[in-house]
Amino acid sequence: MGAQILGVTLTPNLMVFGGLATLSALCAVGVVAFPNAVRSALCLVVNFFLLAFVYFTLNAEMMGITQIVVYTGAIMVLFLFVIMLLNLGAPQALKEKLDFKTPLGLLLGVALFGLVGSQLLPTFVGVTQVQTTGALEAFGSPQAVGRSLFSDYVVPFEAVSILLLVGIVGSILLAKRKI
């Protein structure tokens, strides 16, 4: 059924994933490409938001919504807040002079991409169908996540929460001399 591209059957799932992945990749490029800091931040917001939808398509609603709450809703709002407080000037002010850093950065980027790709892509050679086995229906449900967080991984979970608490107290101490 359906059209075929490069020998892969075009299912609705694949189309949804393709659209989301393309858009989020474009946004990721936009984050580094835009000279305007606010637009970069906005691209990152859209990227996080679309990633959440990728999680939704993988039956991991909990994960996706946490992504929106934490990254899109809290962290990026703070980013924007800081950018607006700094009130960076016109986009021209941000243009750097072309020196060895740009080509070197590009080269290193391509190298990293090649390294990751050489490990990942061979697995997909000859694959023509999306595999839909694996994750259970209730794999990403709040119940399943909660149960594993508070039974199997309770020590790391509590350790992380203490770490965060220490971080909060420390930042308040640094920011505020008189408490």
């Binding site: 606010v38 637009r39 919504i65 946490t66 709450v69 899109t72 809290a74 924007l80 807040f81």
Partner: protein
């Protein structure tokens, strides 16, 4: 009902969106009339009966107005900001059930219902922040900054107050929350429904949620982002015509849908009154026909009761706007971080104790003893928390809401003498 899932989804979405879209003008009319009445004015009464057609006239006027785009704005962001502001205002109702028929509502009964609401409401800040930034106007920027700080602060307390109800229900689904409120009150009184407003922890959560809800929708007395005596109109100072109207509509839609969420989580959702008609028929067989009639009314007219509750919440919003003066910025922050968040966190402990007490006691002694123990546990926990709170307050010097020092100008001392110069003195 073998409709394709896509058609069903579209029908559900439309059944949520269209009523909201249609009721927003009515809402604006109701706000203006009620506010006028509370302020001893007349309000809009010329267009149509009781001025009912005034919102339509306003809408036409807004369409016809010249759409001015200031030259110094960041164009792309300036144009998308109103749309970004409108999206969460409508999307927030996605998991909200407005009737008992699960085939028609909610749009998506996902297992993350409440988290979805928190996530979408946290996106509401973007429209305001972007509008404030893009306008390239100091007042707008101040409005945007205030709004983002305010929303971040109140989101936390709102999340905690909802978490209490999640703990009590044992589910994140909105439909489960409504179902849990149809049970007997405190697990004991079969005739009355267990609306979370009537439980000790729910009442505290309710108050916190209402305050946070008003702050999230930027309404008086938390309307600092658009405080007109300080910031002209805040984030939408530079917006005119339809783009302004979109911001306006987003605000009202958000008010209404937050009203719906409040009704679902604390006020029994689509149930008319907190009476369990089946329970009544069971405990008083003589009244069973009354219970039957009202039970049917309760079931078949559910959306009307739900909308009625929304209207009640909106009336409360307007009443607050007419009553309370705007908070000062430091008061707003102190209320959010130093009062509501600790209170909501403490309430979380109280809920846990309540659940523990009722479950433990119910197993050995029966429901009634369980509820009594729950009340005792809640009261003890509440008093311990209150005493701790008092101790913290007393250990400080002075009040948390300190009056700010303002250097008053003394005209008698600082009066300048201005010499008047006649510009035409040397001409003639």
């Amino acid at each position: 009902m073998a409709w394709p899932a896509a058609v069903q989804a579209v029908v559900r979405a439309l059944l949520l969106l269209l009523p909201v879209l249609m009721l927003v003008p009515g809402l604006i009319w109701w706000e203006r009339r009620l506010l006028s009445w509370m302020q001893d004015r007349i309000g809009p009464n010329r267009v149509g009966p009781f001025g009912l057609l005034q919102p339509i006239a306003d809408g036409v006027k807004l369409f016809m107005k010249e759409d001015i785009t200031p030259s110094a704005v960041d164009r792309a962001i300036y144009f998308i900001a109103p749309a970004v502001a409108l999206f969460p205002a409508f999307a927030i109702g996605g998991t909200m059930p407005w009737g008992p028929n699960r085939w028609l509502t909610p749009v998506a009964d996902v297992n993350i219902g409440v988290l979805y609401i928190l996530a979408i409401s946290s996106l509401g800040v973007y429209g305001i922040v972007l509008g404030g930034y893009a306008a390239n106007n100091k007042y707008s920027l101040m409005g945007g900054l205030r709004s983002s700080a305010q929303l971040i602060s109140y989101e936390l307390a709102m999340g905690m107050s909802l978490a209490c109800i999640v703990l009590a229900t044992g589910s994140l689904k909105m439909t489960d929350m409504v179902a849990a409120q149809e049970g007997p009150l405190w697990g004991v009184v079969p005739v009355i429904q267990n609306w979370f407003l009537f439980t000790p922890y729910g009442a505290i959560s309710f108050v916190i949620f209402v305050i946070c809800m008003i702050a999230e929708t930027n309404r008086a007395p938390f309307d600092l982002p658009e405080a007109e005596n300080e910031l002209i109109a805040g984030y939408h100072t530079e917006y005119s015509s339809m783009k302004f109207a979109v911001f306006f509509m987003g605000e009202y839609a958000a008010m209404m849908l937050f009203g719906g969420i409040l009704s679902c989580v604390f006020l029994g959702g689509h149930n008319f009154v907190p009476i369990n008609w089946d329970g009544l028929a069971h405990s008083a067989p003589a009244l069973s026909w009354v219970a039957g009639v009202f039970g049917n009314l309760n079931y078949y007219l559910a959306p009307i009761w739900f909308l009625g509750k929304c209207a009640g919440v909106i009336t409360f919003y307007i009443w607050l706007r007419a009553t309370l003066p705007r908070l000062r910025y430091d008061q707003l922050m102190n209320l959010g971080w130093k009062t509501l968040l600790p209170l909501a966190t403490a309430n979380f402990v109280v809920v846990a104790l309540w659940i523990l007490a009722t479950r433990l006691m119910s197993e050995s002694q029966g429901q009634t003893m369980g509820s009594i123990l729950g009340f005792v546990a809640a009261i003890i926990a509440g008093s311990i928390i209150y005493l701790l709170w008092k101790a913290i307050f007393l250990s400080r010097k002075g009040d948390l809401l300190q009056p700010r020092d303002i250097d008053m100008v003394k005209p008698a001392v600082e009066a300048r003498t201005v010499e008047m110069v006649d510009p035409n003195a040397g001409v003639a």
